[in-house]
Symmetry: C2
C-alpha cells in the first residue's frame, strides 16, 4: 500500500459494461448518442468525488459479423475526446480520461487535442494511449491487417515521445499577455522540437501553450512486456485486468519495479484494476440482479464478444456448449487473449460458460454481493499491494452506478478508504502523482539552461 | 438575391481579427486559452440569433520567424473541434462550424469527430474543409514541403467523398433500441462502405449512427477553380473574401452556375463573404477606433502577417516603406496571394501600406463607419446578388462583437434583413439549404433499393 486512500475511476462503456446491460428496463440505452445522459452520469460521479471518468475507444466497429453489432449498444457511440470536451464545460473537478490510438493518428494532432482538453477543463485531461489491435480497425485506414504487436509498440514508444516533447515546446510561464509592450508570450518562451525518428518527423512547436497540468496525465492499459515498460516509463495510471489476488500482486510489484529503471518512484503511477460490481442489499438480491442481466444475453452477441476477446478468431460456427477450441495467438491484444484461454483451461469452461463469465467484466474482476463483501475484496487487494484504486465498471447505467454510489461508497467512506472531498483541482492533484522526469512543469525552461 | 434574410456567422479568430486587437485595453486577450471567454462570446451571438460560429484552424504555427508569433495572440489557441464540443454543451441553437484540414488527417477520424459533434449539439455541426497550404504545417507531419495545389485538391475531393460516404453508412432510422427483442439497430440498418480509391481505402461502417442533420453541413473557403468546383459539388456554405462589388457578384454568379453541373439548386449553398466592421455612432468615432488599433501594430507582426498572405515568402529583410516586390506564386493558398498582389498593384501600395490595409480584415471587406453606412454596404451586396449573408469578423473581442450587436444589428432588423427569432433547431434549418444529392437524410436507405 503506497497511499492511504484508493483512487476511483468511473469507466463508462456504452450504456453499461454488461453486454446485455442496455436491455435492462432501467437502462438509459440511448446514452451513447444523447449528451444529457452522459452529463447526468458525470455529475453523479463528480458529486461522489471520484478521481476520473474513463472512456475506452476503438477506431471502428470491431465485430466481423455486423449482425451481432446490431444487437449491442456499443455500435453507435460518441467519439470520446469530443464527448469529454463537452463534459468539461459542465463539470469542474472530475478528471477526464479518453482513449486515443497511436496506430491511426498523427502525434501532432493528438498532442494538440489533449492539450486543448486540458485547457478547456482547467487541468483535468488524461490520455489513455493504446495501440489498435484488430484488422477491422486497420481496414478503416488503408490496411488489410493490423501491424505486428512489436511494431505497434515501437511506433507507440516514439509516438509518446513526440507528444510529450510537443507538450514541452512551451514553457510553463511563456504566456504573459503584456498589452503595453505587445509581447503576448515571453521571448523564446516556445521553440521547435525538431524530432526526427523512424516513424515520425515533427518540427513543432505546438500551436497551443503549455497546459494547466504541464502535460495531460498519461494512462495505459497494456499488460504485455513492451506495454508494461512503456507504462513504467511514461504513465501515471495503469488500467488493468487481474483475475486472482496473487496475479494482481505480482503484476503490481513487477510494474512498480520496472519504474525504477526509468528513475521513477512507485507512487507516481497508480494501478487501477477494473472492477465490475453487482450490488445488492443481500447476497441473494445481488445474485438475482446478475442473473437477470445474464438471461438477457443473446448467444450471437455472447460469441461475438468472445471472438473479440480471443484476438479476432470467428467463433460463430462453433457449438456454444462445446469446449473452447485451441486457437493460435493473433496480433491482437495479447494479454487479453492469454487471460481468456487461461481462464477456460483453469476451470474447464465451454464456450457458452466462458462468454457468460466475461459478459459483464470482460476479464476484469467481477464481484456479485453485498456492499460489505465488495468492500472486503477491494480493501484486501488494496492492502495486499495489488491495487492503488479501482476503475469501476457499472453493469448498467445509471442503475449500476447509482447502486455503487448509494450502497458501496458509504461503506468505503466508513472505513476511510476513499476521499470525502476533493483536495485539489487537477486530475494530477487528485492522483497525487508526478509526471515522468524531463517532461514535467518547469522542466522545459530548466533543461534549456 | 435568393432569400429574404441574410445569414450571419460570427467568425472568432484569436481574440479579435485585427492583428493588434488583443492589445486593445478592452480585449479579453486570454480568450484562446480560457473557456469562459468563448462561452461568453458564444452566448452573445446566440442571443443575437446568428446562424453560426465559425472557427478557422492551422496545423501549426505558421510564422517562419517564431519571434513574430511571440507578439500575436494567435500562437496559443484551443483546437477548434474540442472547443466547439465544449460550447455545444452550453448553447442550444447556434451552429458550430470548425475547420479541419484534409491534408494531415484520416477521413475515418474526421467523419467520426464531426458526426460526434453533430450528435453532441443536436444537429448544429459544420465542417469547414481546407487543404493545408504552408510548409511549416507540413513539417509537423513528416513532410519538408506542402503538396502541390492540384494534388491537395485531388486528395481533398476523395477525402470528402469518403467522409460523406461514411456518414451515409447508417440509415436515418437505424437505431431502434428495442430492449424486448434485443435489437439495438434495425437489421441491415448500417453497412460497410468499401471505398477503394487512389488516396484512401476505407471499409466502414462508421461506429456512430447517422447524425441529427443526416450529415454535418459542409463549408468551404477555396476560391481557385478546383476549390470552387469542390464547393459547388458538396458545400452548403462558402466563406469567401471579395474586394469590390463587381468581383463579389462575378464570384457569386460563377459559383452558383457551377452548382447546376452537379444537379444542385443555387439556394442550397449560401455564400457568406467575410466582413470586418469597425462601428462608431459617427464616422469620426469609427475612424478613431480604427486608428487606435492600427497604431498598435508592431512592424514585425505586420510584415509576418503579409508574408503568410503572399504564400510564405519571407519579407523580414525588405524595407517596409519600399514597394511590394514581384514574387513568384507559391503552392500556398493561391487566391489569397493573387488578392494581395492585385491590391498592391491597383493602388500602388508600399509594404507598410499593404500590411496596414490587411491588418484587420486580411483581404476581406473592411467597413469603418456608422451602423447605417455598414448596413448600406451589406444590403447593397446582398441585393445585387453578391452575398447570401456575411461572416462577421469582430476587430476585438468582446468589444467589436458588442458594437456590432448593439449598433449594427438593430439597423439590420429595422430593415428586415435578418431574423429576430430562430425558426429551426439545426444549422441546416437556420441556413434553409439542402445537402448534396445522394448523401442527404433518407438517401442511404433509398439508394439501396
Amino acid at each position: 500500500m503506497t497511499q492511504d486512500t484508493m483512487r476511483l475511476g468511473a469507466f463508462f462503456y456504452a450504456t453499461g459494461h454488461h453486454v446485455a446491460g442496455w436491455r435492462h428496463p432501467s437502462s438509459e440505452a440511448d446514452g451513447g448518442l444523447v449528451l444529457e445522459r452522459y452529463v447526468g452520469w458525470a455529475r453523479r460521479v463528480e458529486a461522489a468525488k471520484f478521481d476520473l471518468i474513463f472512456l475506452e475507444d476503438g477506431t471502428g466497429i470491431r465485430d466481423a459479423d455486423l449482425r451481432s453489432s446490431e444487437r449491442t449498444a456499443r455500435s453507435a457511440h460518441f467519439e470520446p475526446v469530443t464527448l469529454l470536451s463537452a463534459l468539461a464545460a459542465v463539470t469542474s473537478r472530475i478528471g477526464l480520461v479518453a482513449t486515443t490510438s497511436t496506430s491511426f493518428n498523427e502525434p501532432y494532432n493528438v498532442a494538440r487535442r489533449f492539450a486543448s482538453l486540458d485547457h478547456l477543463s482547467g487541468g483535468r485531461a488524461g490520455w489513455n494511449l493504446v495501440t489498435s489491435a484488430t484488422d477491422l480497425e486497420a481496414a478503416n485506414f488503408g490496411n488489410d491487417r493490423i501491424a505486428r504487436h512489436a511494431d505497434r509498440y515501437e511506433r507507440a514508444e516514439e509516438f509518446v515521445d513526440v507528444v510529450l516533447g510537443l507538450w514541452n515546446t512551451w514553457d510553463d510561464d511563456a504566456v504573459v499577455i503584456d498589452k503595453a509592450s505587445g509581447q503576448f508570450s515571453k521571448p523564446d518562451g516556445f521553440r521547435t522540437l525538431d524530432h526526427r525518428g523512424k516513424h515520425f518527423e515533427v518540427r513543432g512547436p505546438l500551436n497551443i501553450s503549455r497546459t494547466p497540468q504541464g502535460q495531460p496525465v498519461l494512462v495505459q492499459a497494456g499488460s504485455s512486456g513492451p506495454g508494461k515498460d512503456l507504462a513504467a516509463r511514461t504513465a501515471e495510471i495503469v488500467f488493468t485486468a487481474n483475475q486472482t489476488l496473487d496475479e494482481a500482486v505480482a503484476f503490481y510489484r513487477d510494474l512498480k519495479e520496472r519504474m525504477g529503471r526509468f528513475g521513477r518512484a512507485p507512487d507516481d503511477l497508480k494501478i487501477m484494476p477494473g472492477l465490475f460490481p453487482v450490488v445488492g442489499r443481500t447476497e441473494a438480491e445481488a445474485r438475482a440482479k446478475f442473473e437477470e442481466l445474464q438471461a438477457l444475453i443473446d448467444p450471437v452477441v455472447g460469441l461475438a464478444l468472445l471472438s473479440r476477446m480471443i484476438g479476432g478468431h470467428d467463433l460463430s460456427g462453433y457449438d456454444p456448449d462445446g469446449p473452447v477450441p485451441e486457437l493460435p495467438e493473433t496480433e491482437g491484444g495479447k494479454s487479453r487473449q492469454q487471460l481468456m484461454f487461461d481462464l477456460a483451461r483453469r476451470e474447464g469452461l465451454t464456450l457458452r460458460q466462458l462468454y457468460l463469465r466475461i459478459a459483464g467484466a470482460r476479464g476484469h474482476s467481477q464481484i456479485v454481493g453485498t456492499p460489505a463483501q465488495i468492500v472486503d475484496e477491494m480493501e484486501a487487494r488494496f492492502r495486499a499491494g495489488g491495487a492503488d484504486g479501482f476503475n469501476i465498471m457499472p453493469p448498467t447505467l445509471p442503475g449500476g452506478l447509482d447502486d455503487f454510489i448509494a450502497l458501496v461508497l458509504p461503506e468505503l467512506r466508513r472505513r476511510g478508504l476513499v476521499r470525502t472531498e476533493y483536495e485539489g483541482r487537477t486530475l494530477r492533484e487528485h492522483l497525487g502523482s508526478r509526471p515522468p522526469a524531463g517532461y514535467g512543469p518547469g522542466k522545459a525552461s530548466a533543461s534549456r539552461g
